[in-house]
Symmetry: C2
Subunit: 109 residues, 2 copies
Amino acid sequence: MRRTALLLAAAGTLSAAAPAFAQAQQDAPEPPAKLSTCLPCHGRDGIGTAPLNPNLAGQKALYMVKQLKAFKSGERRHDQMSLIAESLSDDDMDALSEWYAAQPPGGNP
Amino acid sequence: MRRTALLLAAAGTLSAAAPAFAQAQQDAPEPPAKLSTCLPCHGRDGIGTAPLNPNLAGQKALYMVKQLKAFKSGERRHDQMSLIAESLSDDDMDALSEWYAAQPPGGNP
């Protein structure tokens, strides 16, 4: 009987949490089309995958857009990033920067 | 009487927390000598003070050292950072990068 009560309580908690979860899913930005280009070095949640790959989670979006444009123009140089930035449109850069800016700093738990 | 009990309980909590706080203070790195150079744009805790000033809190130390060296050598250019990096020794760069890497990502609450 006690177990049934616990299960019912758990079910109640889940159904109460469901709308909040749905809302959070709705608010989260869509993963940008070109995100796969960034994943090997910066991860999906913006935590760099090696000591020289910067974390981007929670970074300022405008700063990231500026750096992507600098890589594309050649003002800033990096073997991989210069090549990758060449393939990105302004819209891609905005979307990718907004994605990473929206990730929790320190990464998803 | 109840108030006294509460005060005693609070005092107990404080004295229990004190050694942990002292330990945290002991573990925190000393602010580097040149930190004042970085504060106007990156803040003491590594949260950029304007949309184009990147957050450095929790950033990877090796990445930051590499960027400081690139600013000093002219490989990466930025009006303020190029000037500032010229005034930094390798030891300064290590200390500043370790400082910011050790700040909580997202900043101190």
